[in-house]
C-alpha cells in the first residue's frame, strides 16, 4: 500500500516529519511502520515540545533514588523503604466517556507503580470541570467520580485525597489527573531497561482487543467539530483483572526471574517494547502470532497500536518461563512468550514467519523529533482599579457566598464515594491538609497531597506555578511531615501556539525556582498538551503532587481545633491581596489582576518554623491558608474540630475584607494553648517570623469583633449545601 499524504496526515504526522522518517530508515515505511512512528512520535509519547524544558527541572537530591525517565519516581524514606509515585492525565478519554475514561486513568497510573515492584498504598486525584451550570458538567462530574471510585474501590487501594474544581475554562476540556503512590523495599526495585541477548519477552495480563487504537495520538490532538466521528473507541477498564495482575506480578517479583518489566500504557505494545529495548541498547523481535488476542483476525497494525488495558511486558531470565507461567495461570491471566531480545538494535515484527516491520529503535526514540517551539511572554494581568467599592458590602454575606460556592464547598459528596480506609493504614482522611498513610507495620507514615491553582496560573504562569509548588509544600508541612519530593502533571492547550508555549515555559521556570529553593525535587510527571476545543485553550493548569515523610506517626498534626480558650495565631504577614481571590471572583465578579506574590525566603522560613513547633508539640492544630483566605481556613478548622473562634482584630493598615479574604501566601493558622503561648511567641520572634494573634477559640460560634457571630452548624450547612442541591438530594 502506497502511503498517501492523506494517510500521513491522519496519523498526525507532519510532512517534514515524514521526510525525517524516510531519512532515518532509508526508505518509505509501510503502513504498520507508519502507525508505529505515529504512536512513538506524537506529543504524548515523545515529549517533543516539552523535552527541552523538562530537562531544566531539579530532579535530584540525597533522597531521590529514581528521577524522571522511568515508569515512576522513587524516593528514599529510610530503613530500606522507598516510595514510588507519579501522576498522569486522562483528560481526553474522560471527556468522551467519563466513567471509563477516569477508571482507566486510575488503572494506568497504578500499573506504573506496581511495575516497579511497589505495592500501591494510595491514590489521589485532581479533577477539573467546566462551569457548574454548563449542561455537560453534572454528568461528567458524576461519571468521573464514580469511575475513579469504581476502579480504586474494586482493586482495593484507598483513594485518600484530591481536589475538585469548576471553571468555565474546562467546559469542553475537563481534566482528570490521577496520582498513585506505592511502597517498595529499596533493594527490590524493578526497572524497565532490558538486559542480555536472547532473553524471552513475555506478554501477561488481559487479551489485546481492538479498543483504544491510537489513544496516544488522540491525547495529542485538540478536539474539533468533527471529533464526534474521529473518536476512536475508548477502553473499558477491568479493575478485577488489574487486581489479579497486581498480585501475580508482585508474586513473581519475589522470585529472582525478572530482568525488566514495563506496563503497556499509551501506545501499548509498541511503546513498551520500544522503550525496554532502547533503554537497554538492544534489539527486540516479536512474533505477532503469539499475542493473546480477544478477537479474531486482528491485523499487526491493530495489535501493535491497541491500548487494551491491564497488560504488562516482561523480560525474563531464560529458563524461568515455566515458573512464571504457573503464577499467572494461578491468577487466571494470559501468559505468552512473544519474542526475544536481540543484538540488532532494531524492532522486528513477524507474522506467520514473515517480517512485517523492521525499524531501527533509535529512529523511534532518541532520533524522534524534538522541537524548540516559539513562545511569547505572557502579558501582565492588569488591575481593574475602578471596581474596588467592596467596603460597602456586608462581611457576613460575603463570607457566606464564598462558603456555598461550588469551588469552596465541602467535597465529601465526592470523597465519600472513594474507599479511603481500605488497607487499614489511612491516618488522615480526605478533607484535611494532606492525607496521611502509615507505612504498613511501622510507626512512620507518608503525607500526600495534590494541588493546582489555574486562576493564579492564568494571571501569571510563573508566579502561579511557584505558588502551587509552595502550596503543596505547605500542605505537607501542616500535617507534621518533612516534604520530600513532587510529581507534576502539566495540562495546557496547543503548544504550537506561542502564547500557550509561553505559558508552559514560564510554568516550568516557576516550578523549577520553587523546587530548587525548597530542595523539593521533581521525580516524575506527565505533560498533557492540546487541551483545547475550537481555539479555546484551558487555563494553564500545572498539578503538583507532593510526598512528605512523617518519622513518627504519633506526631501527625491535624487541622481540627482541639480545645476551647486556646490562641489562634496567623503565621506570615497578612497584607490583603485580593486580586484573583475567591472574594473577588465569587462576590465581586472581578477576574483580572495579578495573583499574590510568593516570597520563597518567607515560605521556607515560615514552613520550617511550623514544622518545628509541631515536632516540639507546641501546637494543637495547624492549617495552611490558601484559596478563600484566612476566614475559609479558620472556618474549616472550626468545623473539623466543632469548636468556634472569637476573632478580635484592630484594623488600621488593612480593612476587614482584606484581612478575611486576602490570599497572601506563605501563611498558616496555628492553634496554641495558653500554656505554650509564651514559648511559641519567643520562638517566632527569635526566628524573625511575622505573626499575629487574632483571637481565641470558643464554643459553637465563629465571630469577628462586633461584625458577625455565626453558629458553626449554620456554617456547616452552608458549606455542604451546594453538592446536595446540585444532585437534588435532601
Amino acid at each position: 500500500m502506497k502511503i498517501s499524504a492523506n494517510i500521513i496526515d491522519k496519523h498526525g504526522i507532519k510532512l517534514n516529519e515524514y521526510k525525517k522518517i524516510i531519512k532515518l530508515i532509508g526508505r518509505e515505511p509501510n503502513l504498520l511502520e507508519l502507525g508505529i512512528f505515529s504512536a512513538m512520535w506524537n506529543e504524548h509519547c515523545s515529549y517533543k515540545s516539552s523535552k527541552k524544558y523538562l530537562k531544566t527541572l531539579p530532579t535530584k537530591n540525597k533522597k531521590v533514588i529514581q528521577g524522571p525517565g522511568e515508569n515512576a519516581g522513587i524516593i528514599d524514606i529510610g530503613d530500606n523503604d522507598a516510595i514510588v509515585f507519579k501522576i498522569e492525565s486522562h483528560n481526553h478519554p474522560s471527556f468522551i466517556e467519563p466513567y471509563q475514561g477516569a477508571a482507566t486513568g486510575v488503572g494506568g497510573i497504578l500499573r506504573d507503580i506496581f511495575t516497579m515492584g511497589a505495592r500501591p498504598i494510595a491514590t489521589l486525584n485532581s479533577i477539573h470541570f467546566g462551569s457548574h451550570d454548563h449542561p455537560k458538567t453534572k454528568n461528567l462530574l458524576n461519571g468521573v467520580v464514580s469511575g475513579i471510585g469504581g476502579y480504586g474501590n474494586c482493586i482495593g487501594i484507598p483513594t485518600v485525597g484530591g481536589e475538585v474544581k469548576f471553571d468555565s475554562t474546562y467546559n469542553e476540556n475537563i481534566l482528570v489527573n490521577a496520582m498513585a503512590v506505592g511502597l517498595v523495599q529499596k533493594d527490590k526495585i524493578f526497572y524497565s531497561k532490558a538486559k542480555g541477548i536472547n532473553q524471552p519477552v513475555i506478554y501477561v495480563g488481559s487479551k489485546t482487543g481492538r479498543d483504544g487504537i491510537h489513544g496516544a495520538s488522540m491525547a495529542s490532538a485538540e478536539f474539533d467539530e468533527n471529533a464526534e466521528e474521529k473518536r476512536p473507541t475508548v477502553q473499558v477498564g477491568d479493575p478485577f483483572t488489574e487486581k489479579l495482575l497486581l498480585e501475580a506480578c508482585l508474586e513473581l517479583m519475589k522470585e529472582n526471574s525478572i530482568i525488566s518489566i514495563q506496563d503497556m500504557g499509551a501506545a501499548g505494545l509498541t511503546s513498551s517494547s520500544v522503550e525496554m529495548a532502547s533503554k537497554g541498547n538492544l534489539g527486540i523481535e516479536i512474533n505477532l502470532d503469539k499475542i493473546p488476542c480477544r478477537e479474531e483476525k486482528m491485523s499487526p497494525y491493530e495489535i501493535m497500536l491497541s491500548e487494551s488495558q491491564e497488560r504488562m511486558l516482561l523480560i525474563l531470565k531464560s529458563g524461568e518461563e515455566e515458573k512464571a507461567k504457573e503464577i499467572f495461570k494461578k491468577w487466571n491471566l494470559d501468559f505468552s512468550v512473544i519474542g526475544k531480545t536481540t543484538n540488532t538494535k532494531n524492532l522486528i515484527l513477524k507474522e506467520s514467519n514473515v517480517e512485517v516491520a523492521n525499524l531501527p529503535l533509535s529512529s523511534l526514540s532518541s532520533d524522534a523529533p524534538v522541537y524548540n517551539r516559539k513562545w511569547k511572554k505572557n502579558l501582565e494581568s492588569k488591575k481593574n482599579t475602578t471596581n474596588k467599592k467592596y467596603t460597602s458590602l456586608n462581611l457576613e454575606d460575603s463570607f457566606k457566598t464564598i462558603l456555598k460556592s461550588p469551588n469552596n464547598s465541602e467535597k465529601s459528596w465526592v470523597w465519600e464515594q472513594y474507599d479511603h480506609t481500605v488497607m487499614g493504614d489511612t491516618l488522615q482522611n480526605p478533607g484535611g491538609n494532606s492525607a496521611v498513610v502509615r507505612v504498613h507495620g511501622k510507626d512512620k507514615g507518608v503525607a500526600l497531597t495534590v494541588d493546582s491553582s489555574a486562576k493564579y496560573c492564568l494571571a501569571n504562569p510563573m508566579i502561579g506555578a511557584k505558588q502551587v509548588v509552595c502550596e503543596t509544600w505547605r500542605n505537607l508541612i501542616s500535617v507534621g511531615s518533612d516534604p520530600i519530593a513532587i510529581t507534576n502533571c502539566l495540562n495546557f492547550g496547543n503548544p504550537e501556539k506561542d502564547i500557550i508555549m509561553g505559558q508552559f515555559v514560564e510554568t516550568i521556570h516557576g516550578i523549577s525556582e520553587a523546587c530548587k529553593y525548597l530542595d523539593f525535587p521533581v521525580v516524575s510527571g506527565n505533560v498533557s498538551f492540546y487541551n483545547e476545543t475550537q481555539n479555546n485553550p484551558i487555563s494553564p493548569t500545572p498539578t503538583i503532587g507532593g510526598v512528605g515523610l512523617i518519622k513518627n506517626i504519633n506526631l501527625t498534626m491535624s487541622h481540627s481545633i482541639k480545645e476551647i480558650d486556646s490562641n489562634i495565631f496567623v503565621i506570615g504577614k497578612t497584607s490583603g491581596h485580593l486580586y484573583q481571590s475567591e472574594f473577588f471572583r465569587e462576590v465581586m465578579k472581578i477576574y483580572d489582576g495579578p495573583p499574590p506574590e510568593i516570597n520563597l525566603f518567607n515560605e521556607k522560613n515560615n514552613g520550617l518554623i511550623v514544622q518545628k513547633l509541631i515536632e516540639n508539640k507546641l501546637v494543637n492544630s495547624v492549617h495552611d491558608i490558601s484559596s478563600g483566605g484566612l476566614i475559609i481556613a479558620l472556618a474549616e478548622m472550626c468545623l473539623s474540630g466543632q469548636i468556634g473562634t472569637k476573632m478580635k482584630v484592630k484594623f488600621n493598615k488593612i480593612n476587614p475584607y482584606e484581612f478575611l479574604f486576602g490570599e497572601d501566601q506563605s501563611r498558616y493558622i496555628i492553634e496554641v494553648n495558653e500554656k505554650n503561648k509564651k514559648n511559641v511567641c519567643k520562638i517566632l520572634e527569635k526566628n524573625s517570623i511575622y505573626y499575629d494573634i487574632i483571637g481565641k477559640t470558643q464554643k459553637e460560634y465563629l465571630s469577628l469583633n462586633d461584625d458577625f457571630n455565626i453558629k458553626l452548624s449554620d456554617i456547616k450547612n452552608l458549606n455542604s449545601l451546594w453538592f446536595k442541591d446540585y444532585f437534588k438530594e435532601s
Binding site: I96, E97, D211, Q235, V236
Partner: protein
C-alpha cells in the same frame, strides 16, 4: 405503551462482566457455551398511542442518555 431498549457494549469493546460470567459457567460445567456478553435493559412506560412516535422517543433517549455511542450500541423493542 411499554417500550424497551437493550444497551450492549460494542463488539470490539472489552466486556469484563461477560468474561467473568463465561468463565464461571465453564467452571460450573457448561462446556458448550462460547461467549457471554452482558448489557443493560430498560423498560419504559410512555403516554403515547402511536408506535412510531414511541420508538422515535426511545431512540432519542437512548442516544441522549441511556447509551454512549462511543462504546455502546442499542436496540429497541415494542413490548
Amino acid at each position: 405503551m411499554k417500550i424497551s431498549a437493550i444497551v450492549t457494549l460494542k463488539k470490539e469493546v472489552l466486556d469484563p462482566q461477560g468474561k467473568v460470567v463465561n468463565q464461571t459457567l465453564k467452571n460450573m460445567g457448561y462446556k458448550n457455551i462460547n461467549n457471554v456478553r452482558q448489557g443493560k435493559y430498560f423498560e419504559i412506560e410512555i403516554d403515547e398511542t402511536n408506535e412510531k412516535n414511541a420508538k422515535n422517543t426511545m431512540e432519542e433517549i437512548c442516544k441522549k442518555l441511556l447509551a454512549n455511542s462511543i462504546i455502546e450500541d442499542f436496540t429497541i423493542n415494542l413490548k
